[in-house]
Amino acid sequence: MSWDRAVRRVGYALAAVVAAMAGQSESASSQEVRWGRSYFPNVVLQDQHGRSLRFYDDIIRGKVVSINFVYTTCTDICPLDTAQLRQVQQILGDRVGRDVHMYTISINPERDRPEDLRRFMRTYDIAPGWTFLTGARADIDLLQQRLGLRPVDERNLREHETSIVVGNEATGRWIKRSAYESPQLLADLLGRVLHNYGPPVTSTRETYAVAGEVTDRSRGFYLFRTRCRSCHTIGEGDRLGPDLRGVASARSHAWLSRWIREPDVMIAERDPTAMALLARYRNLPMPNLGLNEAEANQIIDYLRREDSAATSTQP
C-alpha cells in the first residue's frame, strides 16, 4: 500500500471517529463530553496488586484525581515528587480514596511490574487510598498526551515531565501543577478548589493582622523549604528521612555537603554512613536534586542557625 493510500485509509477511519464525536456533542446537553469519555482513552492499566483498571471508567470517571508519572528506579526528581504528594495525602487524610483519588503511573512499564510498584510504595511508606499503576507503554504515552504532557523515549526517562495533573472529570476542570509546588497548595486544589470550593476551608487560618511577618529571607531557608522539608524536619522527628536537628555538628561539613549534592554517587560507592542510613530508612535513597556546592553550604548554614537558635531559646 502506498503511503498516500495508507494515510487515506487511516484518515477514513479517523474521520468516522471525528464524525462520531461531533454527533455525540450535538446530542449531549452542554458539553460534558468535551473532556469526557470521547476524549480520554479507556485503556486498561494494572495497579500495584495486579488488578486491571480501565482509565476512564474505573480511574477518573466522576472523580477528583491527581495523576503523575514516575519510574521506580528514578533517583533525582521522582523521589521529591512522591514525597510532596505524600505530604498532600497526609494533609487530606482519609479523604484520599474517598473523594480525592491519587494515581501515580509508571513511565517505565516494562521494568515496573506490580511487585515493583508495591516495593516502591513500601519504601515511601504510602498510606492506603493512593494507587500506583503500570500498563502498556503505548497506552501510557497516549494518556500523557491527552493530559497535556509530553511522553519521553524510554532512553530519556530522566527528561520526563514531572508535572502533576489534577482534575475533576465530572466538571471538566483540569489543572497542571509543578512538583515543586507547596503540598498545601496542591491539597487545597484537590480538596477544595476542584470540588467547586465545596468543602469549607479547614486549615488553620491566621488573621490578616498577624499574618505575613517577613520571616527568614535566607537562601538556605528557601532551599530547605522547597527541597528538603517534604522528607525532613528540624527537631520534629523523622519523616521519610531523618530529623536533621544537630546533623550539622554530628557530621563533618565535607561529608554533609557531598551527601546533599551527590547522594546517589555515595550510595554507589557504598559509603558506610550512607549505607547505614539507607538501611534505616526503608531503603529509600536520598535523591540527587541537582544542588551545587554553594547551595549545599547555604542549607548547612541554615541548619546550623536553626540548631543554635534552638539552643539559645532553651531554658
Binding site: A15, E32, T162, K176, S178, E181, Y208, Y222
Partner: protein, 773 residues
Amino acid sequence: MQKIASGWQSTRKLRAVWVAGIVSVLAFGVSTPTLAQEDDVGPKYDIPTGAPPSPLFGAQPFTQPMMLFEEFGTQPIPTSNCTNCAPLPPPSSCSGTPNSAALDSFLRQPLSPLPTREANVSLPSYWATAVGNCVRPLASSAVEGRPPGEWFAHQRWEEFFPRVYLQTAVAGARTNTGLRDSAQRHRYAVGEFRRSGGLYYRNGTTRGMQVRFHPNFPVQDTNSVWTFDGTVPPKLLQARYGEPILFRNHNALPVDFSANNGFGAHTLSTHLHNGHNPAESDGFAGAFFFPGQFYDYRWPMALAGHDTINTDATNPRAGAPDGAGGVTRVRGDWRETQSTLWFHDHMLDYTAQNVYKGNAAMMNIYSAVDRGREGLRCNYSNPNNANLCLPSGTALDWGNRDYDVNLLIADKAWDSNGQLFFNIFNLDGFLGDQVLVNFTWRPFLDVRARRYRLRILNGAVSRNFQLALVTQTGQRVPFHMVANDGNIMEHAIPFPNAQSQDLPEIAIAERYDIVVDFSRFAPGTRLYLVNRLEHRDGRGPKETIPLAEVLSGEYDGDPAVGRIMEFRVQSYGGVDRSMNPVMYEPGGRTMVPLPAVPANVLQTAVRRDFEFARSGNTDSMPWTIRTDGGNGMGADMSVVSAAPTLNRWEIWRLHSGGGWQHPVHIHFEEGRILTRDGAPPPLWEQGARKDVFRVGDDPTGHSSGEVEVLLRFREFAGTFVEHCHNTQHEDHAMLLRWDARRPGQVVAVPAPIPDWEGVYYEPSVDLPTAVRN
C-alpha cells in the same frame, strides 16, 4: 461522514488540511509533526491546536461590517443609598444565569450599596441561597469578593474618592437589548454616528445584536462566550484624568463550574492593563470573586508622579478635557500620560480561557494632550498648545470616535456546531485558525478618505501578529505609529522604514496606535489588513511570510496568515483637522517626551534579573521564572519574588532561552527599554514606554533574547504580578508575585484565599533576594 469523506477526494491541499486536523484529534494536546508534513503535500500545522478546522458555514470574507466598540458610559457616583434597589437577580438554576431582562433592570439601577473603603462584607452574597443549594450551606458570605480588611482597602480613598462609576456583570452570551444606547457619548446623533449620512449609525442602537461572529454562523450558546454585560459589541470605557472611576464588576456566571462549554472559570479577577492603580484595584490573580458577588475596582485616574511632580497642578499639559473646551489641570507628570489601555480577566490559572471566552474590554484615556478632539487649539498650529489633535472628530468636546477606531484582534476556533472551542490540555500555547476583529470574522469597515487613528490590540492567547496594510494590488499603504502600548511616543514613526516595512510584530496584549491617511485613495478603494506572521505551535512565532506569497494564495501553512479585514474608502466632505504625523517624525516636533531620568541612574538603580524558561532548561519541565539567579519557580501567590521600594529606580533584566517566546508583562508601571541584547531597541521602542516586553525566540528581528527595562514605582503600594502574557504559559504557571512597598515597610501583604464563604489570608514569604537595601 459523507462530507468529510468527500473532502478526501478533492485536491491534495484540501486532503492535507483534513489530515492535519484529524491527526491533531488523535494527538490532542501535543504538538506532533503531522503525517502530511512528511508526505510533503504542504506543511500543515496543528492549528487550531488539537481540533479540526473551524467550519465557515458558507460565509465569505468581507461580507459583514465590523462591530465597533460600545461605550460603557459612566455616571456620577450617587451620594445617598438607594432604598428600593433590587439585588442581582438569581440564577435560573445551578448551571443557569439570571433572566436577561431582570439583569438589565438591575444594571440600570443606581449603584447600590454605596462603595466602601474596605471590602463590603456587611451584606451576604446576592446568591447565598443559590450557592447554599448548589454547593453547600454557607456559614457566612459577603456581597463583595474583595479581600476584607486593611490589606485590600482602597488606598488614599478620600483623596481619590470616585467621582463616576460604571457597573457591569460578566455574564453568559445573550442578545443585546440596547441597555447602553443612551450611554453612547455620540448618542447616535452627531458626526459619523448621526442618522443621516453617518458611516457608523447602524440603526442607532445595539438592540437585537446576538453573539455571533458572522451572520452565517450559529449564535453562540450562553456558556460558549462570557463577556461584560453578556453582550456584543465589545465594550469600551472612556475615561479622563482627574476623574477617579469606580468599576463595579458583578459576577453573574453559573454557580456550577462545569456549565462552561468546555473551558473558562466562573471565578473572576479583572486587571486593568496597565493603569497606574493601587494593588487592590489591579486585579491580582489571587484576589478573585465568585458568582453572586461583585468586586469594586477604584481607578484613581492620576498621572504617575502625582506626589512629586507638578504638585501644584499648574502645567497646562497635565490635565483632562473639562467638557467645555477647557482643561482641568491635575497634579503629576504629563509625560506619564496614558492613552490606549484594556482590561481583562486575570483569574489565577484561567486568564487564557477567560479572556479567550470574551472577558476583555478596551479603555481609552483622554487627557490634555490626547483629547479625542481635533481642530481645538492644536499643537500643530502652536507648539504651546497641549492638544495633539490625533484623528478623532469634532462633534464632541472630547472622546470623539468618528475617526478613532479600536481594533481588538484575536484568533479563535470553533467546533462543528460553530461554538467557540478551546483546548485546555495544550500548554505550549493555544492557536485558533480564524482571526476575529472586534469579535467579527473577516469584516469590512467603511472609512472616510481622511486620516484615521487605529488603536490595535492583540487580544489573542498565544498568537503574535505582524500586520501589513495593503491595497487590492498588494501595494503597501504608508502609515505612522504614534503610540506603543498605552503610551504616546516622543515621535511618530513612519512605516515603511529602514527597520520594518510593515507594522512590527505585536505580541499578546501589546497595543500599537497608528495613523493612516485614507485620503490618498479614491472612494471605492479597498484596502486590507494582512497577517504575515506564521505560527506552527503556541511556543512562539515561526517566521514572517513574504507579502507576495500571502496575497497570491501560494502560502497555505498557518491558516491565520492572510487578510483579516477590509477597509472600504468612502468620500469625505468634511475638513480633516487632525495632526499630520509627518510633522512629528524624529527630528521634528515631539508628541510626549520621555520622563526625565537622573544622570547616574545606570549606576544607582536596583537591578533584578528574571529568567523565563522551563526549569532545568528542558522542554519537559514546567514553566517557571527564575528570579535573581535563584530557583525556577511557578506561580505561588504567597511567595514574594521582588519587593521594590516606592520611588526608587530599578532596572529589570528579562531574558529567556531559545526556541520559545515570552511576551513579559509587568503590572502597574511602564518601563523604558534600555537595551535589547545590549543594543538599542528598534525605532518604535525608542522614545516609547512599554508594558509588554518580548523576550526569547526572535524570528522577526523585532525582539531579543534579553531586554533591560528601567522602571520606577510610585504613589501606590501592594501586591502585583509579572508574567508571560502568552496566557497559556502564564496560567501554567509562568507568573510571579512582586510587591511594591513603602519605605520602611517590613510586613508582607498576606496571600488572600478566596472562598464562597469569604476571603481568608495565609502568610506570605519573601524570596531571599526580594528586599534590597
